[in-house]
């Protein structure tokens, strides 16, 4: 099988059926662009939510205990899997923090030596509110611990919103993908239908199904490449030029994982895979159903 022939046929296939090829490219472009926009917005929403969640701290207030008990408490805290870091805040530090937060005149309002010593914990918020709650109740049972406080409500709201967003976003993403696949399949089928004479002639002279299919697959991948490139350019245009200009209040939405090429690469790859898959599926069925004499 001549690779050169297949690639050449694949490229000229786009030129020969311009309208059908344009339709395929357009449907792929729209699908990949929508998924790209959804991904970029979704990623930003997710990272914002995660940075808010990271603000959630657990404070373990201690009774007046001796140093040995304090060490034991520290060891028990640090043995918790969710605890990333534990900072000890002595009574004096607590007063200083209070003064810093409420201003120099706070002593006139209240005696500051009532503030207890505490451990301020940074926790892994990925584990979810439920795991944190379980950990908190464990910490509360440690001898020498007076009280454990954290913003459970914020964590729960964040988590619930994030779950809703993930489900809705994921659902929309899957719907777009499915709609795009059906659209791509049907438009590529149209492209192939426009070449039924070629398929019949190929069958007539003894071409194998694989040979007949190959140029269509090359064509599908090329269409995916063109559509993907256009979608990436559009994403650049929308998020780097249009949005900062027309919606400056939104600020610049970050590229997923901080680099443009992750999303651009994923979009190109997805587009090419959809082109490959759509053309393979359509070509397989159509070639099988085409008879030499009709």
């Amino acid at each position: 099988m001549s690779i050169k022939y297949i690639v050449r046929e694949g490229i000229s296939g786009i030129k020969r059926t311009k309208l059908a090829a344009t339709t395929s490219i357009f449907s792929l472009f729209v699908a990949v662009l929508l998924l790209g926009i959804l991904t970029r917005i979704g990623f930003n929403v997710y990272s914002q939510a995660m940075s808010i969640k990271e603000l959630v701290e657990v404070e373990v207030f201690l009774l007046d205990v001796d140093e040995r008990t304090m060490d034991q408490i520290r060891q028990q805290i640090e043995s918790e899997e969710l605890v990333i870091d534990a900072t000890y805040i002595s009574k004096d530090s607590a007063s200083a923090i209070m003064r810093e937060e409420f201003g120099a005149g706070v002593e006139e309002l209240a005696e500051l030596n009532f503030l207890p010593a505490s451990y301020r914990l940074s926790v892994n918020t990925d584990a979810g509110a439920e795991s944190i709650e379980t950990m908190v109740s464990r910490l509360q049972n440690i001898r020498g611990v007076d009280e454990v406080e954290y913003n459970a409500a914020l964590l729960r709201v964040m988590e619930s919103n994030l779950n809703t967003f993930s489900m809705v976003g994921g659902g929309i993403g899957i719907l777009i993908l499915l709609a795009a696949l059906v659209l791509v399949y049907n438009t590529i089928r149209l492209t192939i239908y426009a070449k039924r004479d070629l398929i019949r002639a190929m069958k007539l002279v003894g071409a194998t199904h694989k040979f007949i299919r190959s140029p269509f697959i090359v064509e599908g991948i090329l269409q995916g490449l063109i559509a993907g490139s256009l979608a990436v350019l559009s994403i650049f245009f929308i998020f780097e030029l249009a949005m900062p200009y027309y919606l400056p209040d939104l600020g610049l939405l970050e590229w997923p994982f901080g680099r443009w090429y992750f999303l651009a690469g994923a979009m190109l790859l997805l587009s090419m895979m959809m082109g490959w898959w759509g053309s393979r599926w359509a070509a397989r069925r159509f070639i099988k159903e085409t008879y030499i004499s009709e």
Binding site: S2, D197, A201, G206, H209, S293
Partner: protein, 233 residues
């Protein structure tokens, strides 16, 4: 299969939409033989050819083409069978967006031949059909007779053992018909078996050869008796 037969049908029965098209047909075409398959329109002549290039499979009986047991081979082997056959239709089936050279070359490209060989072979078969000077023209620039000659050139490019022609002169004027018939005879004289479907009595009479008629789902050999074709006793 007998040693010299390139096509052999044994007790072949085929139904189409509950109608019996072929009924216990037995037929042989020998190596290098020229035969006409005649009969009125709709009698099943084209279906007979479809059996040979495996566009349909019989309900019972066996079909053999060269070394291929056509009704038993797998889908993967069908292209190999078709490479043993040159197939010519009435409606040309040329690719309109490719020139004469590319239309013929294409049959060799699909079999994976090298470009140098393809070029030589295409020019050879185009010369054989008298169209090497028209190799850069598109099908629409050619007459019906010329287009049919391109189709024959494409069918010959792979050096098949058998040429199957389904009404190859059906759309042609008398002059073009003469050219095509002479070309088919030349090809046959070089040793290739030819099975031609026609309902043109004048052609059968002018270019005499073995003639088989399809009647009531069966084949019947005919011979010339004076000006008439009569069944072989």
């Amino acid at each position: 299969m007998s040693e010299t037969a390139v096509i052999e049908l044994k007790n072949v029965t085929l139904n189409y939409d509950k109608n019996r098209v072929l009924d216990d047909v037995n037929f042989k075409l020998h190596n290098g033989e020229f035969a006409y398959l005649i009969g009125p329109t709709g009698i099943g002549k084209s279906t007979f050819l479809k059996l040979l290039y495996r566009d349909v499979v019989p309900d019972s009986g066996t079909v053999r083409v060269t070394e291929y047991p056509v009704n038993k081979i797998s889908e993967r082997e069908v292209p190999m069978l078709r490479r043993r056959l040159g197939i010519v239709f009435q409606d040309f089936q040329l690719l309109k967006d490719r020139n004469v050279f590319d239309n013929v070359a294409f049959s060799l490209q699909v079999t994976g031949e090298k470009p140098k060989f393809i070029k030589e072979r295409v020019l050879e078969v185009l010369t054989m059909v008298g169209l090497s000077h028209r190799r850069k023209h598109l099908p629409r620039d050619l007459s019906g007779g010329e287009q049919q000659r391109v189709v024959i050139a494409r069918a010959l490019a792979n050096e098949p053992r058998i040429l199957l022609a389904d009404e190859p002169t059906g759309n042609l004027d008398p002059k073009a018909t003469k050219e095509i018939m002479e070309l088919l005879r030349t090809i046959n004289n070089r040793g290739m078996a030819v099975l031609m479907i026609t309902h043109d009595y004048a052609v059968v009479k002018k270019y005499k050869a073995r003639t088989v008629r399809m009647v009531n789902g069966k084949t019947q050999d005919l011979v010339w008796k004076g000006d008439k074709l009569v069944p072989v006793k």
